[in-house]
Symmetry: C2
Subunit: 453 residues, 2 copies
Amino acid sequence: MNSEEFRSFAKAAVDYIADYLENIRNKKVLSSVEPGYLHQHLPQEPPQEGEPWQSLLQDVDRIIVPGLTHWHSPHFHAYYPTANSHPGIVGEILLSGLATISTDWHPDNVCVALEQKVLDWLAKLLHLPSHFLNTSPGPGGGLIQNAASDSTLIALLISKTKKTSETAPDAKLVAYTSEQSNSSVEKAGLLASTTIRLLPTDEHGALRGTTLLRAIREDIASGLTPCSVVATLGTTGTCAFDDLEEIGPICKDFGVWLHVDAAYAGAAFCCPEYLPLMKGVEFADSFCFNPHKWMLVNSDCSAMWFKDVTHAEKVFDRESSGTHFWQIPDVRRFRALKLWFVLRVYGVEGIRKHIRKQVDLAKYFEGLVRGDCRFEVCRVSLGLVCFRVKGDDRRTQDLIDRVTQRKKIFVMPYYFREKLVIRFVICSRFTEETDVLVAWEEIKSQVEHNLDG
Amino acid sequence: MNSEEFRSFAKAAVDYIADYLENIRNKKVLSSVEPGYLHQHLPQEPPQEGEPWQSLLQDVDRIIVPGLTHWHSPHFHAYYPTANSHPGIVGEILLSGLATISTDWHPDNVCVALEQKVLDWLAKLLHLPSHFLNTSPGPGGGLIQNAASDSTLIALLISKTKKTSETAPDAKLVAYTSEQSNSSVEKAGLLASTTIRLLPTDEHGALRGTTLLRAIREDIASGLTPCSVVATLGTTGTCAFDDLEEIGPICKDFGVWLHVDAAYAGAAFCCPEYLPLMKGVEFADSFCFNPHKWMLVNSDCSAMWFKDVTHAEKVFDRESSGTHFWQIPDVRRFRALKLWFVLRVYGVEGIRKHIRKQVDLAKYFEGLVRGDCRFEVCRVSLGLVCFRVKGDDRRTQDLIDRVTQRKKIFVMPYYFREKLVIRFVICSRFTEETDVLVAWEEIKSQVEHNLDG
């Protein structure tokens, strides 16, 4: 493929994506293809000779796209958002084309310098404590990770190394998180060979100080050594916020590393009105949020900050040169470029507008649900509404089953306080009031069916 | 930014990349900007309002590109290649635009199905044992990882879990690798809390069976429990090949997990003439190579196969559902798309041609060096030539310093067998004989200067 063919191929791909996103509203959000259909469409062996690029684009359209779950459909209301924006895509085009990688964390490298700069922009945008800034006089700093799960693992590994250096080498370490935290915390515990205690939460799903304090005291009494707490701002199930103002001082008193996972909800802290939700964040030793979730930067782009990077250096720097990344893989793509693009094309005001619009749409949906006496709203937090059909769980389960089978909208079930609820999340940046209304009509039509049946 | 602006912006970015790659030969391979210059060009605060896209492209050209190391310059001969190809870039455009992510490893998901298919294609292309195929009747399989360092960590974690289940819970585990293996193996040992013994190599830099056997016996005698070996095919320093035919049976005898890291050299196994270099690969429990190094798939795309995935499932599957990824992060981008594109646009023959051409260029360079009595060639392996100025190391160091300062070509120093050598690697797919000649002239001009001085 020569340069001219590349221009044609790449521009055809750009048009394909533009068309796809313009028309995504008309697609069923879930695919209807039969299991195993892809294997029928593709040969068992790789092609011996090269093929013309046109056949690849045709196959994407013919084989791949019909099988996709459309995460950017305005009718996708499952999980949490995964980001996709025009400047995010163009950032990926450029970083793929320049295809430069960084092998150390040295600010003379322009890719590292840009990453440090935009991570500082991001910390300021989210009103994070200034000790996290790369340019702060102290030992703090931030960088891009692959995923929030990497950050959790890294925080556990650091806290382990730190605590082990302070105690007997055979100390039995224990870490804490809430029963509502993401399953990746348990996974990180497995990978880091660290026992994780899942603590109960209050009626809103938040981890409270008294619960943590009791657990720490019990464990110390049984000869264990508490080493870290993974607190969540915006839990996966119900977008609950652990109480950092209570948890933080306890971590400080017991010399326990406090990692804060704000993977989804972190983006909201660009709006001053949500800052009360992260009160106590100044106690965090490390903080993670995913611009690739709710902040319009295409995956992968997860941000992680440290109050004091020297602890991370002790884990990752084999030669004490201080220039290794505090990350699992050994090289890194130039992902700062797409983050830079998104921040500049949207600007602070554009990002705030995006967050506020999505929260408003969730409130709009909440109002619709509250206006119908067959339903009850269980929790509303940021872009998430948890609701259910009144009465036995089976009614809610039937509704979810019917709606999922029809593939017009995509929602997820969740058990909260021993009741089945439907998680309805505003995910796509294309979602408008009319789409929320479509979703609500779809839900109503199926619950009516359900109650009749 | 609306869809029309996106089309313009993205197509301008495509043209920028096409122009950049067409003209990359004319740029100095190393940047000349002053340290800290980026911070002078960018404001301290993120922009309040959005900016027009044109200013972003201008800033990439004005601020970013002048600061880059040009990894795809035909005069870049450092490290090993990092991949960049036209179909690889277009694959990234499409996967960024579709922006679908996978949350589990279920073949009904079209993204997972494509990944399983192209990993099978890849295994066949490399002539790997059929027990690695996703479609094999046995429990083998492969998937894409972020990096070879992730694969090493995963292999260590699996072997730890497996060995711990077979022995006393307080067994002191030990893993082995050669002193020539990549530093990421040591890092993986730190992260996995596993002691790694670095074993000496033979005169070619290869780990041999007798060395491993001695170490295992010593350790067992001292009460340790050997759990894994990380063998390398194509070491970072001198592209040496550990002897799998000797190592494999020892691992089998002692129930030790054999992980093979062929990050760079793996791509060569698409050519039948290089298959002798991986004799004994059938003993490997896991095998990793990076299509994002020498096989034209833009980063990140590292392939990892398991002979028996059930061991991996025990580490990663919290709910025994068998659908979790055997990887560190919890979600994955649709990277199979770019691998699929590269395999189809190049075809098997195109990829072989690429590998053979780069090996031939290395041989061409070797011939030039051998023709000059001031130099000695220390090792040639695939696309790498290790050579030095005869005599004291200072002469070689001076040469490297001068050449690096002039920024016309980029080579790396390496200490091998207590002598300083220059690693000269054919990295860029744009490199031609004329470029190799340019590099050789540059080297000769500086060594002459050097010997005069």
